[in-house]
Symmetry: C2
Subunit: 344 residues, 2 copies
């Protein structure tokens, strides 16, 4: 049998932990024989959940961690102080090569800080971005960056484009993915200072398929496979996507219940509509990878249910099988052989 | 009879000009007796359209302009060179006090440049923002800025907050409007450099009702009445709003037509749905004002139909009746009595 991919799961992270995390882990190991999950968290609570299921005992192991990092805690302080928190213990498994990947639905800030401080950057990577998949009319688009790099530089965005391109090609399976930069017009001379500086650098990259600017209105159409921007803009796009989709669906539901006639219609369209909107639901696509680290770090949505947790774990297997970190390290090194990767 | 508000309309601007512009003007003067519209554009084309309607001749006057500024033209050059374009001729009417307001569905860039260069800023205003209304679950939110100030400074955003607040209170009729800054988290320490610098300045403003940060996910809920951000972020929000709403509605329509059962349902829900989605349609609310100029400049959507043009014209009447520019000038002057208003 091939060697198992080892995933350290923050069993205490997210709104529905540890129920959803434990259930997701059980479902993942049942679906793939080549995965082993370390359930990291409060031993009693995790074992109590785990006792509800039957599964292959070789594929799940509980690793005790007595502390928890709360959503509102300042991340740097939390990572430094709470040495026995589920996030720190699980990330240290990756750091010490006892696990290949880390998955958490907990505090995004703590995951971003822990990724940098504990797991560490690959040589040459200036800033590791967080890259969620956005649903579009045609499939999905990778949005790089939604992480901590709010005042990013042009060189960061160029690396985001390279790393994102590799991810879409090898994990999502889009050959020669189209890369675009978020802009406020299609022309090259448009944009803020960062975009104007980054655009010509992206044009020079021979290892990516750069198609130019994308306006926000065209993102939902799926005109690009990878879109790069600083994390402030990326966060606005991601959050508005979620918020507006939620609001529109609720407005539409209210509209359907406004008369007897439309109520009857609503009953008839409901199943088809549910199916269609599912394809527009980020939950189906697993978590957002933090790219450019020495191990895989996946941030799952805070409101993740067991399916999203399961998908995030399964995603780790693909990442490892594709030797993603080797590919990213090679691409970054090729471009910047002199970089020490640790300079700020 | 009270004096008529004089509106200079760019009759050649927008995808459906001059049909939609002329029809919108006729509808506006029929609805309000105290409006006079100057239809500025190619005389033959405008008069041919106008001959289709009957209206009070005192309320519409054709002003010839032989040139047109195209959407793709570099705006600064176009405004400087095309002295006989509909935009330049119409804006000069405002500059020379022959008209109170200017409305165009043409090139946004040309309108922004013309607003600054021809109409001119009110004393003390550093950067005039473009401020469209976004539909929300609760009504509308004013988004300041979506104009040309992509690399804005903190002092600009503070003025945007003041001017936006005055607009929402006196034109849209929201008493003590809630003002928020677009951010990537609710806490004061979150944000990029611009937001971190602006936040404490907004907190100090005693003349606005500042409620703190708003995350993009909460914008569609209508949690704030005025939201401020630099124009790059504002443009991303506005365009994603339009694009995502359009995509979702088309995805939902497709879903409804996917089975016979749901097709029947679709027929039954259609009228109610149409009514609901109408409330989520920016078209109903007129154009986006450019705030802080010596005359009113309103940018209507490029795809404006006659209703949107009509609403943009009617909006000018409210602006004038409320003496908006006096209010803005007073608010800006009060805060910065030493400013000369023309310094870059």
């Amino acid at each position: 049998m091939q060697e198992r991919i080892k995933v350290a799961l923050d069993a205490m992270g997210g709104d529905y932990a540890p129920e959803a995390t434990v259930q997701g882990a059980v479902e993942a190991v049942k679906e793939k024989e080549n995965i082993k999950v370390f359930l990291v968290g409060k031993q009693d609570a995790v074992e109590a959940e785990l006792s509800k299921y039957s599964y292959n005992k070789e594929q799940i192991e509980v690793v005790p961690a007595s502390e928890m990092i709360e959503m509102a805690e300042p991340p740097v302080m939390a990572i430094r102080k709470k040495k026995d928190s589920s996030i720190v213990v699980a990330m240290n498994l990756v750091k010490n090569h006892e696990a290949d990947a880390f998955v958490s639905a907990g505090s995004t800030g703590a995951v971003l800080v822990g990724g940098q401080l504990l797991v560490g950057r690959l040589k040459g990577v200036e800033r590791p971005p967080l890259a969620p998949l956005l649903p579009t009319e045609k499939g999905v688009t990778l949005l790089v960056d939604c992480g901590a790099n709010v005042d990013a530089r042009a060189s960061h965005l160029v690396q985001f484009a390279r790393m994102g391109s590799i991810y879409m090609e090898h994990i999502v399976g889009i050959p020669n993915p189209k890369v675009a930069i978020v802009n406020i017009g299609a022309e090259e001379e448009k944009g803020n200072a960062l975009v104007k500086e980054t655009f010509p650098l992206l044009k020079e990259c021979t290892d990516i398929n750069f198609i130019g600017s994308i306006e926000a209105r065209d993102i939902p159409k799926g005109d690009a496979d990878v879109i790069v921007c600083d994390a402030f803009v990326g966060n606005v796009i991601l959050k508005l996507y979620e918020g507006l989709a939620g609001t529109l669906v609720s407005v539409i539901k209210k509209g359907m219940l406004s008369s007897l006639r439309s109520k009857i219609g609503a009953v008839l369209v409901k199943p088809a509509l549910k199916e269609t909107l599912k394809s527009f639901d980020a939950e189906e696509y697993g978590g957002a990878p933090m790219l450019g680290l020495k191990g895989l770090v996946v941030k799952s949505h805070g409101s993740s249910n067991h399916t999203e947790i399961k998908n995030s774990i399964l995603q780790c297997a693909a990442f490892n099988e594709q030797r993603m970190n080797d590919r990213i390290a090679a691409a970054i090194q090729k471009e910047a052989p002199g970089s020490d990767g640790g300079r700020e």
